[in-house]
């Protein structure tokens, strides 16, 4: 107790707002990341299906998804730019000392991201004029660019967890940097694949969830079935893979970051035959209250034997490990993530069973209710996974080499609190507007579909994607009175 009070008193006043600001902006950005990384892939699968089977509905879905992608990707760029500024605005100490050790990963990320921005622009705006084949082929590198971007970010983050590839001189500054070692740190592999799968899974469930809601409301045509089945199948394939990867990364944490593992499992003393707690709360004196205790399970999970020794938090001095509160947060985040992951696995198995056995989509309303929630649940799981890895590393920003308190900016805490307030207001506006825009798009499409279906009138040629490559129709230029709508032109 006294130690932790002492630590709190030592921490500079700007640490808390800086941390909150970083946490808030990153937590918001993370919501968009699955869409940024895996949505293009899912859209391309749909696009391929549309081209291959000459399925106009699949092509329509791909087009509509790309319209959503346009807005979402723009917001992702914006919130991502904020993060790269925050490295300097909030953690100048981290970048000043370690920038040249772990920065090359970001370099890879920057150009991968650049490539992604270019390709996405071509894809989004290429529907009308490019030849179908050219259009599809130009978009094919997109998922790879996304994977490469994730590579850079995860290299940097895993380096913070298990830093290596340098030695320290007498003043404690890094010398003899080995870039290769600094990128491929012990935690890199497990973190990277776990992350990529999480993105595919989350994006799949998020997109499918929209159509699951439609199914529940009685919209069960080809359009909704397709919109549900393609992303859900992708997610359902990813779910079991993710379960295995998740299990393996937990064991990597156990081996490479024992203190974080102890926090995630609230293990106080190093011991064998350690019980597993589901939830529960760790106190400063090492006792655990609440939660469900399962004897021996933690040792068993860590090393497949009840005799596996698990290091506890007390194996390092109090100022080098997460506090009891932090450990509890990491523990809850970890448990929630695992629970959600298991639930999603069951859902995926349910789906897989019916698909393979009966060659159709599930018919149960409960299945679609669960599927509708799966998107949100997987976003929660992603957030929890991130919280577990970041809070579990405390008080270090670079594990065992730099404390968060040493990295923080010297800007006055008042300024930072104001900045946090401003950013929160702006982000609420941003994400609120994003949601409103998405809902408006949906309503508009639904209205358009409702009008279109009965009349069945063919559309003017210029409006058919991949149509004739003539000049723009003259009526594209807005000349009508106010309220006539958007630039860019309306159909009739």
């Amino acid at each position: 107790m006294p130690t932790s009070l002492h630590l709190l008193a030592d921490a500079p006043a700007q640490l808390l707002p800086a941390r909150e600001l970083m946490a808030f902006t990153l937590a918001s950005h993370i919501i968009l990341v699955p869409l940024g990384v895996a949505f293009p892939f899912i859209t391309l699968v749909m696009h391929y299906r549309g081209l291959r089977r000459k399925d106009a509905t699949a092509l329509l879905l791909a087009r509509r998804w790309s319209a959503v992608m346009a807005v979402q990707f723009a917001l992702g760029i914006v919130t991502g730019t904020v993060l790269s500024f925050e490295f300097g605005l909030l953690w100048p100490g981290l970048m000043g000392r370690w920038g040249d050790v772990f920065g090359v990963g970001f370099g890879v990320e920057a150009w991968a991201f650049f490539l992604e921005a270019v390709l996405i622009a071509i894809y989004l705006y290429g529907w009308r004029r490019l030849k179908p084949r050219t259009h599809f082929l130009l978009a094919l590198p997109l998922p790879f660019a996304a994977l490469l971007g994730a590579f850079g970010i995860l290299a940097a983050n895993s380096w913070m967890n298990t830093p290596q590839g340098f030695s320290l001189d007498s003043e404690g500054n890094p010398v003899d940097v080995n870039v290769w070692k600094a990128i491929f740190t012990p935690m890199f592999g497990p973190q990277y694949w776990h992350f990529v799968m999480a993105m595919v899974l989350t994006a799949g469930f998020m997109v499918a969830g929209v159509y699951a809601v439609g199914w529940l409301r009685g919209r069960r045509d080809h359009y909704h079935r397709l919109g549900f089945a393609v992303p859900f199948t992708i997610a359902a394939i990813a779910a079991p893979v993710q379960f295995v990867l998740g299990d393996s990364i937990a064991r990597s944490v156990f081996h490479k970051q024992p203190v974080k593992f102890a926090a995630m499992e609230i293990v106080w003393k190093t011991d064998t035959r350690v019980p597993e707690y589901l939830f529960g709360r760790l106190h400063e004196n090492g006792t655990v209250s609440g939660g469900i205790k399962i004897p021996l399970l933690d040792s068993f999970l860590a090393g497949f034997s009840a005799n596996t020794e698990v290091r506890g938090l007390t194996s390092v001095p109090a100022d080098q490990r997460p506090t009891a509160v932090q450990a509890t947060i990491a523990h809850w985040a970890f448990d929630i993530m695992v629970l959600i992951g298991s639930a999603l696995l069951l859902l995926a198995l349910w789906y897989g069973f019916i698909r393979l056995r009966h060659r159709r989509l599930p018919a149960s309303r409960w299945f679609y209710r669960a599927a509708a929630c799966a998107g949100v649940a997987s976003v929660v799981a992603v957030e929890c996974g991130w919280i577990a890895t970041e809070v579990g590393r405390q008080p270090w920003i670079v594990y065992q080499n730099m404390r968060v308190a040493e990295a923080v900016t010297s800007t006055r805490s008042t300024t930072l609190w104001i900045m946090l307030g401003v950013v929160m207001v702006v982000y609420v506006f941003l994400f609120g507007s994003f949601l409103v825009v998405l809902l408006k798009m949906r309503t508009r499409w639904r209205l358009a579909d409702a009008q279109q279906t009965p009349s069945g009138s063919p559309m003017p040629e210029a409006d058919i994607p991949y149509g004739p490559r003539g000049s723009l129709p003259a009526d594209d230029v807005p000349t009508a009175g106010p309220g006539a709508g958007r630039a860019g032109g309306e159909g009739p």
Binding site: A56, T57, L60, R63, A70, F73, A74, L75, I77, V78, T81, S84, G88, L89, M95, G96, R97, G99, D100, V101, G103, V104, G107, A110, F113, F114, A117, V118, L119, I120, I122, L124, G126, R128, V179, G218, D221, Y223, T409, S410, T411, T415, M419, L430, K440, R444, L447, A448, D449, Q452, T453, G456, M459, A474, P482, R486, A487, G488, G491, P492
Partner: protein, 352 residues
């Protein structure tokens, strides 16, 4: 050696951002000054249309700049972000609002909503380059050194003020010149003249500001003044001057693609002149390239990464700009997002 190379890459990335991002901010500037809803309808329509396919790419250059800064010159990054905290924080808030305003304006159909997002986008387009310019001005006028703490006078000096204004004028100039070409491309002859007048007047403003900048740097930023008046610095100043005259001439005659080239040359040479004048310093008179350089292994790898980026990204960017300038890139219209007339669905239940 490698450090000099990376410093050059950094300067070129800054130049690219100044040109690409500048054009983009400039479009926002003309959006802001286009007048009321009715009067500004056509210019805004053109701006929206011209910017949409390329604005994201234009802005990604900045991420490049930041990454090269913190990987290649960690101390520079730390120092600049500590000393210039406020202008940079304001700039990033501006960027968020701008990007969001632009991205959200397009899919919004109600006039009130479009107005709100449009205003946010336009105002932020003005403020962001100003604050970025002010930060650069603070660096140029020797107000930033390793260890400098955040304080108002670091970025509110005369040079900062002038650089901020120059940044805004540059964006307006580039924006107008590029929009002339877009107006022609989208068959809007009235807007060609409209933006030609604006390009010429912003070039005039820019010329006046250039003279003021010379005078202010002479007083306030002696090292930069010294560098700009001799050697490579002077050379690029002269190139910028020649390019400006050429642009004016082209604008008066028949503005075509060449006006774009000369306009970019004006801005690029000005930025490079600043970089040359600063040599060998990253932060004039306190931090040299050699002192700020990160670990040599990292710099080598950063050079490799940059080379790969050149090989991979440049063709992609060229392809994008090429497709864009040929009018191959076009937004999906609403009717394309409707279901095809002959319902493809098996229609178990009508949708709606």
């Amino acid at each position: 050696m490698t450090a000099d190379l990376i410093a050059m890459v950094l300067l070129l990335a800054v130049t690219a951002y100044a040109c690409a991002g500048g054009t983009d901010y400039g479009a926002g500037f003309w959006d802001l000054t286009a007048g009321g809803t009715e009067r500004g309808r056509r210019p805004r329509w053109l701006i929206d249309r011209a910017m949409a396919p390329v604005w994201e790419v234009n802005n990604v250059w900045l991420i490049f700049v930041l990454v090269i800064m913190w990987t290649g010159f960690p101390v520079l990054f730390e120092t600049v972000f500590s000393a210039m905290w406020l202008p940079l924080a304001l700039a990033v808030v501006g960027m968020v609002l701008r990007g969001a305003g632009f991205a959200l304006r397009k899919p919004t159909q109600r006039l009130a909503g479009r107005r709100l997002y449009g205003a946010v986008f336009a105002v932020a387009s003005l403020l962001t380059p100003f604050f970025l310019g002010a930060a650069v001005g603070g660096v140029a006028s020797e107000r930033v050194a390793p260890g400098t703490e955040l304080s108002a006078d670091v970025w509110t000096g005369a040079t900062s003020l002038v650089f901020g204004l120059v940044a805004v004028a540059v964006t307006a100039f580039l924006g107008a010149v590029f929009l002339i070409g877009d107006a022609r491309r989208f068959d809007a002859p009235d807007l060609v003249g409209y933006f030609r007048r604006r390009a010429l007047s912003s070039l005039a403003v820019l010329t006046v500001l250039a003279v003021v900048t010379g005078w202010v740097t002479h007083e306030d930023a002696p090292y930069i003044w010294h560098g700009l008046t001799r050697g490579l610095g002077l050379f690029f100043v002269l190139v910028a001057g020649v390019a400006a005259v050429a642009t004016a001439w082209l604008l008066l005659r028949s503005p075509g693609t060449w006006a774009r080239v000369t306009a970019v040359a004006v801005v690029a040479s000005a930025v490079i002149a600043w970089g040359m004048a600063q040599r060998p310093y990253l932060l004039p008179t306190s931090l040299t390239v050699a002192d700020a350089a990160g670990a040599s292994g990292t710099l080598t790898w950063l050079a490799v990464v940059t080379l790969v980026a050149l090989v991979v990204v440049v063709p992609a960017v060229v392809l994008l700009y090429w497709l864009d300038s040929r009018g191959e890139l076009e937004e999906l219209t609403d009717s394309e997002l409707r279901r095809p007339g002959r319902a493809a669905g098996d229609g178990a239940a009508p949708d709606g």
